[in-house]
Symmetry: C2
């Protein structure tokens, strides 16, 4: 079988772009409208996307605007939302973000196993450690745990969750009314985990779904993040502005996975792409200009201040002038340097800078026709930069519709993308292997050895 | 408006009665079938029930049978399940159980707020402290917290959750595209809670639903449980075999609530009832006999052993003979005494005893015609024993269908039950007041005083 591009759709009902909620196409109450989310899910399924993906915050998140201008200030919790959306779709996967720092593994394992069962094997878990003191302050702490401590806890959390997902073997349930045997007790297992952070006896009170385990997803770019991803992730979302850095990341992750004895084909690297699609280049540019024109100056400046942790205070400067010099500060050095580098490389005014950054907050923005967009995706896909892409339509629903109606057919025409779902589960569609239950696997290995 | 009976439906897909999964009517895989749960929800809505109610365990629960004979060993997590079921219903409420001991208030507040938003204001939270060492062992402990400590934590947990549910005032969201004002910052509030168990800054990143807060439900019978219920519950599920004890409980709860300055009409007491309905008494008895005849001896004896914490080991005794004398033991004294009392009062053999106990594990079982059943419900309702009932159909879907098709019309004929839903939210249907946002309320009080 030819290798195909995998596609995730990142569809926050409140919109991706900082001003998307002000766009005439987008319902202003999208973030809290179930009907709008149903529409997005059904469009993604019409486009044969592998999965609907949602990030998550455990605090009121930074929306990149003034206070009062942030349309992503409130919304649904992703697992409950996806449970509802799974009832109006049949093949689309659902990848929800959940925190290893602020949840207990038994609860994490259970909610994803339940979503997986409800959706018939279409769940994925985007594993995050959750940064920021404001979140820590919602969970009995004053400040967040150090980076390395969060990642140690994350690794153990994922391990415990995967143990719990194997509590029942796939054929544990007999359900024989005549004999009264509902399940085979010897196929129900306690994990009895005792580690640095967690002590969890098990078993989990949810059976395995048709896909065995929910798909494990990650997005870490740091050294700790790459290590955890190489060890446990099956899909990796990542952010790159250039093919060269994407290739470096792709090759590094695959090499790390190989080094850990994993099949690198079982870790799919999917960079984010924010597409503005037009039938002509001019039409695409017009869409870009229209959306960026909706950014209020105050919000744009606030976004730059926010992204640099307040170290680049631009209030009072002419937004159509250049980025002023700023004294070096201790906090957020690398982010401040990146923002400055983008401005310098492109000779951007303050306004042009915040317009560029506003689109997808660091993800790769493409303004083009279906042909030029697919040219780029194909180049990345065929040159060790990507196994697929996480599409971030800058405003909704139109930019998603555009991608489904214009770009998907071009991908299909070139044989790069499916023309029908391969299976019912997320794992089948992504071409990922079914995880053999560890207890059944151990027994089979023992029998083979005897 | 005349006072009406409120009805909850307790519908575990695996069935209520210990042998219900062996009944020919009941799908053996009901516990893990989404389609079966959808059918149950739609039947409950056809019957105009106020709410679908589910208990919960954070461990593989005691199913009352041999190992291998427990059909409730695994299933869905209730909040994710109800989120899916809310999409196939319009008026039915959903009361999910969640633990104050093994979850963090921010997560509890969030998942119920999200379910409430998804369902359009139809969520309820059954607050439990969760007993048992096996559960504690899934959450980093060897043994459970003492009873009083669990209840202190529960009271604070509920308090924090209710604070978080008020993070946004009801009119906080302007969503004015023209001005770019999405919400009014002055109508978003931090709770900044610092208590014995929790430190939670807030705000919650989910807005209030159409019913303001999910409905708070409880089921505690102990002194601590009654205290917590009187202080915070809006619906109380309770278990009574006789009208006299139900009246004692009802009057005590209402008096406690009044003592705390609450309107006793805003705490609905709903005892559990397990009905076997027949067009004739003989038909009802036949249904009872058929279901109880499906209990395997080994499961029935196991149930008695389990309910008494292993202190009443009946293996080896003649099941058609009397309950043997047993030495007094330290553990589970009161439960052992209750079991013995039921046997003595009714002159039950061991078999008759486990058959009686198997139906609804301590809830009130009625075997009768629609008329005699409604006679009983009416007597309880009109004599300070109940504001409504939590119906526990012993097997599914038939016993639920029987109740909807035969008992509901009789309740309606006597003017005791609604003929159409009064509103769209659970709170409206239960006749419970809309909880004024504490910040808006405080401001209004201040303005009135000036």
């Amino acid at each position: 079988m030819t290798r195909k591009i995998r596609l995730g759709a990142f569809l926050p009902g409140g919109g991706q772009h900082i001003a998307s909620w002000r766009h005439p196409d987008q319902p202003a109450d999208g973030a809290t409208s179930l009907d709008f989310h149903k529409q997005l899910a059904q469009t993604a399924e019409r486009g044969l996307f592998d999965a609907y993906f949602l990030a998550d915050n455990l605090a009121v998140g930074f929306g990149g605007a003034r206070e009062g201008g942030n349309a992503r200030v409130a919304g649904f919790e992703p697992v409950t939302l996806f449970s509802a959306l799974s009832t109006v779709t049949s093949n689309l996967g659902f990848i929800a973000t959940a925190s290893t720092t602020y949840e207990e593994p038994y609860n994490t394992a259970r909610k994803f196993a339940s979503l997986d069962l409800i959706s018939g094997g279409r769940a994925g878990w985007n594993v995050v450690t959750t940064t920021g003191d404001p979140t820590a302050q919602n969970f009995n702490r004053d400040t967040q745990l150090p980076h390395a401590a969060r990642y140690r806890r994350a690794a153990e959390h994922v391990d415990v969750v995967k143990q719990l997902w194997d509590s029942f073997e796939d054929d544990a349930f007999i359900r024989d009314k005549e004999s009264g045997t509902f399940y085979q007790p010897e196929k129900l297992h306690e994990s009895d985990h005792r580690g640095e952070h967690f002590q969890v006896r098990g078993p989990l009170n949810v059976p395995r779904s048709p896909q065995g385990h929910p798909v494990i997803v990650q997005a870490g770019q740091s050294e700790d993040g790459r290590g955890l991803a190489a060890a446990t992730a099956e899909v990796i979302f990542t952010a790159h502005q250039h093919i060269e850095t994407a290739q470096e990341f792709y090759r590094d992750i695959k090499a790390r996975a190989r080094g850990l004895g994993r099949d690198p084909g079982h870790i799919l690297v999917m960079p984010g792409v924010a597409p503005f699609v037009g039938r002509t280049q001019a039409e695409a540019q017009e869409k870009y200009d229209r959306l960026t024109g909706l950014i209020l100056e105050e919000d744009g400046v606030g976004l730059l201040n926010g992204l640099t942790g307040g170290t680049l205070d631009l209030r009072g400067y002419d937004v159509d002038g250049p980025l002023p010099p700023a004294p070096p500060t201790e906090g957020m050095k690398s982010r401040q340097a990146l923002i400055r580098q983008i401005a310098d490389e492109n000779n951007f005014s303050i306004r042009q800078l915040y317009q560029w950054v506003a689109t997808a907050r660091g993800h790769f923005t493409i303004v083009g026709t279906p042909e030029t967009i697919v040219d780029t995706l194909q180049e990345w896909f065929e040159n060790e930069a990507a196994d697929g892409f996480n599409i971030l339509p800058p405003w909704l629903p139109t930019a998603l519709d555009d991608f489904v109606d214009l770009v998907i057919p071009e991908l299909q025409r070139r044989g790069l993308f499916r023309t029908a779902y391969e299976g019912r589960t997320l794992r089948e569609n992504l071409g990922l292997p079914f995880p053999v239950n560890r207890w059944a696997g151990a027994r089979a290995a023992l029998q083979a050895a005897e």
